[in-house]
Every structure is written in C-alpha cells, then in structure tokens.
C-alpha cells in the first residue's frame, strides 16, 4: 500500500499533533518522509496468509480476576483527588480549566 503525505497529515490530525513547519512542528517534512518509509516496510506482512489466524492482542493467559468497582478507601481517595488537582496544569476550584468549548 502506498502512503502519501495526505495520509500522514490525516493521522497527525487524529493524533492531535502538528506536523508542517508553518504549524510550528519542527521537521514536519522529515517526519512525513520517515513515516512513508516505515509504513512501506510494513508491507512485508503481505507475504503471509493470515486469513485463518485468530489475532493475538495480548500474551496473557491467566489474568487477575477483575476486582469489584467499589472505592477501597474513600477518605484516601478524596485525599488523592485533592493531590491530583493540586498538581494540575491549570486548575480552578474542583476543575481543570481549558479553553471554552461552547
């Protein structure tokens, strides 16, 4: 499969990354060039017939039992929430602040 700059830019948009030099992402062109080269190499996988193979997404065979979704220690949890907010990038009261959306 040939992959062009358009595909790279579309992926960048999905990944919320800037690429082109005019957008401020340094070495945008180089990133696209490497990207197309790397994706081109992945075509080596077309050599194998995997039509009957079940995908393997994790090598885990005996995972932990899922635990119940209940707070273990509410007081410690509240303290943790406070500590997370304290270390937040921009915080107002109990909220992280970001540019207005609506």
């Amino acid at each position: 499969m040939t992959v062009d700059k358009k595909a790279a830019l579309a992926a960048a948009e999905l990944a919320r990354l800037e690429l082109s030099p005019e957008e401020g992402g340094e070495l945008g062109e180089k990133l696209v060039e490497d990207f197309t080269k790397i994706v081109g190499y992945m075509d080596i996988l077309n050599e194998i017939d995997t039509s009957l193979v079940e995908p393997l997404y994790s090598p885990m065979t005996d995972p932990e039992e899922p635990r119940k979704d209940v707070p273990r220690d509410e007081e410690a949890g509240a303290e943790k929430a406070r500590s997370i907010l304290e270390k937040g990038t921009r915080v107002s009261g109990h909220f992280f602040t970001v540019p207005r959306v609506v």
Partner: protein, 493 residues
C-alpha cells in the same frame, strides 16, 4: 575498604550488611560518591536521592539487619518510568518534567517492603521508545565502557549505572529489548520476566501488551534476588498473572551437559559486525566444549517481527499517550487558541520527535481503512510468532540468540534513519511478542573492547529454570572487566 563497597555485587553487599562488615550508611555513602564521581561523564541518573537514602540507611543501621528481607538495605535504582511518591516521574520526556505522581508503583512498594534503599532514578529514551538513550529529553547517557558510544536503551541509564558501580542492581522495563539490549551493550546481566510476572501498576505505559518490568545487575543470581522481591500477583494490574512466583533465590546451576539450546537460523545468520561475530563464535565454542547441546532451528515467522512489533507497539503507544493532552497534568503550551489547538500545541511541544513518530504511526495503523491491513494483520502474525516460539521450546530447553548484531554505536549513528534503527531490534523483539522470559548476559568482548551479549529465552513463567541455565552460561563465558572503580573522564573536545 570503603573504596571497594561500590564494587560489591548485590549478593556480596547483602551478606556484608547482614554480617555487619560495614554499615548501610557506609554502603550508601560509597555509592553516592561513585555517582557524584561518574555522573559528569555518564548522565545515567535523572534524580539522586542523597539525603533520603542516607537517612534511611542510618535508620536501618539503628534497627539492625533483618535477614528476612530479601533486599535489606540494598541500594537499587529505578528507571524513571516508575511512579515513586515525592519525586518526579519524567519518563525522559519534557511532557512530564514536573509531574509528581500521586501514587506508587507496585514494584516500588514491594522493593520498599523488601528493605531496598531507592537511591536514584535513571535516564531512558523518552517514554522508553528507543534503543540508545539518545531520545531522552534530558540528554543522552554515555556507555561507561567507552564514553564515545551509546549505552543502548531504553533502560540505558540503568545499565550504565550498574556497569559503572553506581548501584549493584537496577530496575528497568523491557517492551522490545529495553532491558536486555542495554545490559548487553554495557556488559551486565538483564532479565525480562514473562509478560504478567511482574505488576505494571504505576509504571508509565508504552505498549501495554508488551511492557514488562525487570532487573539489571552484574550477576545472574543478583537478578534472581531482585525478581524475587517484586514478582507475583497484584490485584491492581489485571494483566498480572495469578500464578504464584517460584523461588528465584535458592537456584541450582544446571549441568551444561543437560542443556539443549535452539539456535534460530533467522537470527544467527543475520549480518553481524565482525567484532560481534567473532565474539559470538567464541561463545558458541565455549558452549560446545562444555557439552551444551546446540541445535540449529528454523523460525521463519521471525522475519516479520520488526513489522509486527512496530505496528502493535506504535498502536498501543498512540492509545496510551493520548492521555498527554495538556489539560490535566504535564506540559501545557504557553500560547494556544481553542481546545483542539491547546492539545496540538501541548503535545507537539511536550513530546519529542521519536515519540511523535510512533504516535503518528500507531494512529495511522488504527485508523479506519487501515486497521485490518496493518493492526489486525500484525496481531495475526503475532500469533504465528508466539506459536512458533512455543513450538521451538518443545524441542529444546531454551532458545539462544544474540542480543545485538552490532556493538554499542557512536552517538548520532541512526537518529536520522529510524527504520534502520528499528530493524536492529530484530534480536530482542520476538520475545516481547511471544510473552516469554529472557535473560541477557555478557559472553565476551570484541576486538574493539566493547561487550557482546547473548540471550536465553524460555517458556513463559519458567524464570527459575532460565536463571539456573543462566548460572551455567555465566560460569563458561569470560567476565567483563570490572569498571566499578575506573575513572570515567570525558573525551576532549
């Protein structure tokens, strides 16, 4: 006498501490001095906990040795992806420069319970993505065996520090070779446990189906002791196995004559640097002379491991790193317009080039229209690699492979050629795809004076047997020169 404390192996240090040959304070002081002495040349540490370590050592000296603790007063370093309260966890990224975790990794908690003294956090390729430690936002680490070359990576700081005598043991992580390869390039021992053997809770994620925490040290048995302190089920990581850990401390060295090792043709017939080739040939001769059975095998699916790994690891990385949006924690750009612009500027400014490259690739292979052709296809090929790995182990006790086809390389050799650098990882990636355990150990040094390593790979959750075979190989191979007291001075210019 103090001068030599930084040269002790972990086992020797532990015994000396329990016998009170020296105090924990003296040991920590000696290592801190060694760190101060070597850091200007190495840059292996991102944080050194001088005051805390000395304070803890003093308190332990007062309470007296506790032999029931596997690592009583033993100083250990942590790769800077482990969450530790009260210290930043940067993952080698500008994104997390000021990130102070609100909770601790299970590995950290267990190390504390085992009595370890956590003396420093070590340098790495940003978010563990790389094999040279050159992609750290805090500058590269140098190889203590030759300051002009890389230490390998991504756990380069861990390996360089252990080889140089900064600590007798370290914890790193291995997603595609990040423990085994730097151990080999720096001339120390590194163990990647089976996927699910050690909890990943509190470790900054890269590729969640591949990441595994493990130890680096100067001997095989030291790696066993470090693993014993952290292995086992953890209710906080649902991908951690429920199997109880084995005894990794009271090991019984395997008889060389009882061992049969499978040598995959696809890896042993790769193109090698001559210095590496001659060292590997020498190692095979030593194995044969000792009576180890060597069996050449074919594992054709290995040919696809680089493509499979870089699709799956990048896909998982793009998902894991989506959390770095500048909104809640981590770096936020100074200037931005709307919300989407804030995400883009913060991510582009906070994440380095290699990390952005992998996120871009991962986003692409997961995107609609490409998912089946890349991501699903790679996951299918992963099963072929895993099945072939397990099948090979039905015919041999372990798989033996080189760790790197070239010795530690000069800085900047591949930074502009990522595909070539990815292809160099072929020796180490298959193990992560299969989920098995692997032990990398030095097998000699090339005519260029740089260490060369081999790795033993075994059945999942058979770390004990792997370590016992490792003890036999360790005895056969020449030991790397001890550089734990050598002066490390920067080359001029």
């Amino acid at each position: 006498m103090d001068k030599a404390l930084c040269s002790l192996s972990l086992e020797e240090a532990r015994k000396g501490l329990l016998r009170r040959d020296f105090t924990a304070f003296e040991l920590v002081e000696s290592l801190l001095r060694r760190i101060r002495e070597t850091e200007p040349a190495l840059n292996a540490c991102l944080a050194v906990f001088e005051d805390e370590s000395l304070k803890q050592a003093r308190a332990m000296d007062e309470s007296g040795p506790d032999p029931s603790k596997a690592l009583w007063a033993v100083p250990v370093t942590l790769k800077d992806v482990y969450n530790l309260q009260g210290a930043p966890a940067t993952a080698g990224s500008r994104m997390l420069k000021d990130y102070l975790p609100s909770y601790e990794a299970t590995v950290v908690k267990r190390l504390r319970e085992a009595g370890a003294i956590l003396i420093a956090k070590t340098n790495l390729d940003e978010f563990a993505m790389g094999s040279s430690t050159e992609f750290s936002a805090y500058g590269p680490t140098r190889n203590p065996r030759n300051l002009a070359v890389v230490p390998g990576g991504s756990s380069g700081g861990a390996a360089a520090g252990v080889a140089a005598g900064q600590a007798p043991g370290a914890f790193g992580t291995d997603t595609g070779g990040s423990i085994r390869q730097p151990a080999a390039l720096c001339g120390c021992v590194g163990l990647k446990p089976s996927y699910g053997r050690v909890s990943r809770y509190g470790i900054i994620a890269y590729g969640s189906s591949l990441d595994q925490a493990g130890p680096l040290a100067r001997t095989v048995s030291d790696c066993g002791r470090l693993l014993s302190a952290v292995a086992g089920p953890d209710g906080l990581d649902s991908t951690c196995s429920r199997r109880p850990p084995e005894d990794y401390v009271n090991l019984k060295e395997k008889a060389p004559g009882s061992l049969t090792l499978a040598l995959p043709r696809e890896l042993w017939e790769a193109s090698f640097h001559p210095a590496v080739k001659e060292t590997l040939d020498g190692a095979l001769e030593l194995l044969k002379a000792a009576g180890v059975g060597l069996k050449t095998v074919s594992m054709p699916a290995l040919r696809y491991s680089v493509a499979v790994y870089y699709i799956l690891a990048a896909a998982e990385a793009s998902t894991n790193l989506a959390r770095y949006d500048g909104a809640r924690y981590g770096y936020r750009a100074e200037k931005y317009g709307d919300l989407s612009d804030m995400y883009k500027k913060s991510r582009t400014g906070g994440l380095g080039r290699e990390v952005r490259r992998r996120i871009l690739l991962g986003t692409f292979v997961l995107s609609s229209g490409y998912y089946d052709a890349y991501y699903k296809k790679a996951a299918q090929a992963r099963r072929l690699i895993r099945d072939e790995y397990l099948k090979t182990l039905e015919e041999a006790d372990f798989i033996l492979a080189p760790v790197s086809s070239i010795p530690a390389w000069p800085f900047g050799s591949f930074t502009e050629d990522p595909l070539t650098q990815y292809q160099l990882d072929i020796m180490t990636l298959p193990l992560n795809l299969a989920g098995g355990p692997g032990l990398s150990l030095p097998c000699g040094e090339g005519s260029d004076g740089l260490p060369v390593g081999v790795q033993l790979m075994g059945e999942p959750f058979k770390e004990r047997s792997l370590l016992e075979a490792g003890l036999a190989l360790e005895r056969m191979f020449p030991k790397p020169p001890d550089i734990t007291r050598s002066p490390l001075t920067l080359p001029r210019g």
